[in-house]
């Protein structure tokens, strides 16, 4: 009995670990999409957060500074998308894809520049168990905070207005383009914490490809969670659970590739099952062009 209980607790604990970066990325995605901008570039933001936090932590010896740098990096990367999406009105999905490619390449480039070796950085000062737990708890705190901000604050109402009907919002005196811009940037800052967690909490280095498509699973979590912070976090926990199962089932003889594929397959099923029955913010993904 004790062994089973221990196993269950281990899986639950692992679920939290696996879900936390997804939660941060998904929250960032929710904020961005509620304002009307689809952020396919979450993967790139995770990469920016992961790499920058490692680089700065290595340079300063302080993981907290590294984390802050990672957040700033995420905000900056998001700002690129925010700019081309709002000011230039380009296709947000295409731009986000380009962002992911560029971010991955920039990080790889950075690895060679700073560490003179491709593939992975050196080990850097990272968060211990305490820091890791703080980041996990912070993810849930942020979920509640974002839920409240969207529902009950003036800025949150403006964000929601821009995501539904930026034209109507503008006729009420709201600057839709600026609101969208800052929502995307703030979302990027939050999402970057997911990358920070991956590189400084779960490990203590950055390696090429460590984000492994989590940014895309986070997108599925946003949809699955019906574009609400609480929903997205729930979905992220769900996907994290599948990732956690991987180790347990692997010992039971299930091929490791199938286990690794589980979260992605789960996202696919969710997508097919939910499509058409949930509604995105009405102006999500539609560039707003002032006439």
């Amino acid at each position: 009995m004790n062994a089973t209980l221990a196993a269950v607790l281990a899986v639950l604990g692992l679920t939290l670990v696996k879900a936390t970066p997804l939660i941060y990325a998904a929250l960032g995605g929710v904020l961005s999409e509620r304002s009307g901008v689809v952020n396919i570039g979450l993967e790139g933001i995770l990469i920016a957060g992961a790499f920058t936090s490692v680089a700065v932590s290595g340079a300063t010896g302080n993981p907290i500074l590294g984390a802050l740098a990672g957040v700033v990096a995420g905000a900056l990367v998001a700002a690129i998308l925010a700019f081309v999406a709002t000011r230039l009105g380009v296709d947000q999905i295409v731009a986000g894809t380009g962002l992911n490619i560029a971010a991955l390449a920039a990080a790889a480039f950075g690895l060679v520049l700073i560490y003179h070796q491709p593939g992975a950085s050196h080990e850097v000062p990272a968060f211990g168990k305490g820091g890791e737990a703080t980041l996990i708890v912070l993810a849930f705190v942020m979920t509640a905070a974002l839920q409240f901000v969207l529902a009950r604050t003036p800025w949150g109402l403006r964000v929601r207005a821009c995501g539904e009907d930026p034209g109507a919002a503008e006729s009420a005196g709201i600057d839709a383009l600026a609101t969208r811009f800052w929502a995307v940037v703030a979302g990027g800052a939050i999402a970057a914490l997911g990358g920070v967690y991956l590189s400084l909490a779960e490990l203590d280095l950055y390696s090429d490809g460590m984000t492994a498509g989590r940014g895309f699973i986070a997108l599925a979590a946003v949809i699955f969670g019906r574009w609400t912070p609480l929903g997205a976090t729930g979905a992220a926990l769900f996907f994290g659970f599948f990732a956690a199962l991987q180790y347990t089932l692997q010992r039971a003889g299930v091929p490791s590739e199938l286990m690794q594929a589980l979260p992605y397959l789960a996202a696919l099923v969710a997508l097919a099952g939910l499509a058409g029955r949930v509604r995105a913010p009405a102006a999500d993904g539609v560039p707003f062009l002032r006439s």
């Binding site: 999905i93 295409v94 894809t97």
Partner: protein, 340 residues
């Protein structure tokens, strides 16, 4: 083309050139290399000798197939980010079938290429089906399937469909009969290049001159009007995605049959993603995509030389590619079609 589109094209090209040379120069400076030396090594490596030109065309071919596939999807109003996975599975199918069933030359090559085309087509048909039947967003579906493709191929090649001994992560070497013949002797350039060129011309003809192409473009450019005109949007989406995947799969097959002569998990350095840039730079027109693929092929092959000769990390090429995609994202402002 109307006057508006023409100036946009000119302005876009200027932006691309600025991005490539501007960002490239900054990155080179960060790597303590003079941009003159860096770009010099790049171009020299791309066109210096005959064999280098051949290598540039090899890279161009590898990009041309997925770019054509992505363009077909784009024209239908769909975004196929899954070309990488479709290409991978196409290459796997080609490599495995070719090694498993030795046949004489005139049968082996068609068999191998067909296997790759079908595999890629099936992998493209999945998100196509999800989109047609459930209205599921093909962007996320294809992204997910990219990862699953990699895992599936790894599982198959090291497990049940293993052809080497001891869990090797590649298929057995293709028999000579199944290998595409070289176009330029002693180079990696094969008839795949000709096949790709012909395919581009065929696709252009199909898009502009056939009813199928008309309906596909209508579905992409004005879905509501297309629906009212009797065009079945779901079926068009399904066929477009399957066709897109098939073309990418064919690319993987030619890569395996002509260049590598076996399937290996690492066969693609991201061709399916770079091809997005190629498709956009080519303005989704198959003939211009030929030109764009040569340009990007030049970056790919020259990039390797740039790293070897001038010490500039090859990742600069990918970085610039990503930024080009962002810069050209305005090229295809798709009408809002979000279905989830």
């Amino acid at each position: 083309m109307s006057a508006v589109l023409r100036t946009r094209t000119a302005r876009d090209l200027i932006v691309v050139i600025v991005v490539v040379f501007g960002v490239g120069s900054i990155a080179m400076l960060l790597a303590h290399v003079s941009p003159l030396i860096g770009f010099g090594a790049l171009f020299d490596g791309a066109f210096g000798t005959k064999s280098e030109v051949a290598e540039t065309l090899v890279q161009a071919t590898n990009l041309l197939f997925p770019a054509l596939g992505i363009a077909v999807a784009f024209r239908a109003g769909l975004f196929n980010i899954g070309a990488e996975g479709q290409l991978l599975l196409g290459g796997f199918a080609a490599g495995w079938v070719g090694a498993q069933f030795p046949l004489p030359g005139y049968l082996a090559i068609p068999m191998v290429l067909t296997a790759g085309t079908l595999a890629g087509g099936a992998w493209g048909a999945i998100p196509g089906f999800l989109r047609a039947r459930f209205g599921a967003n093909e962007v996320i579906a294809t992204l997910m399937l990219n990862v699953v493709a990699m895992l599936l191929a790894t599982f198959l090649v090291t497990g049940p469909l293993q052809q080497g001994g001891g869990g090797a992560s590649e298929t057995a070497t293709l028999p000579k009969a199944a290998q595409l013949p070289d176009l330029i002797a002693d180079s990696r350039l094969t008839w795949a290049f000709i096949i790709a060129l012909v395919l581009a011309f065929v696709l252009r003809w199909v898009l502009q001159r056939t009813v199928f192409g008309y309906e596909l473009r209508a579905a992409g450019d004005a879905p509501l009007a297309a629906k009212r005109a009797g065009i079945d949007l779901g079926r068009t989406a399904f066929v477009a995605m399957a066709l897109s995947g098939a073309i990418a799969g064919l690319g993987g097959a030619t890569l395996v049959s002509g260049v590598l002569h076996r399937f290996n998990i690492g066969l693609s350095p991201g061709y399916g993603f770079i091809a997005i840039a190629v498709a956009l730079v080519g303005n989704l027109d198959p003939l211009w995509i030929i030109v764009a693929s040569i340009a990007f092929g030049m970056l790919q092959s020259g990039g390797i030389a740039m790293q070897a000769e001038a010490g500039v990390p090859r990742e600069v090429v990918s970085l610039v590619t990503g930024l080009v995609i962002i810069a050209l994202a305005g090229r295809r402002v798709m009408a809002s079609r979000r279905t989830t």
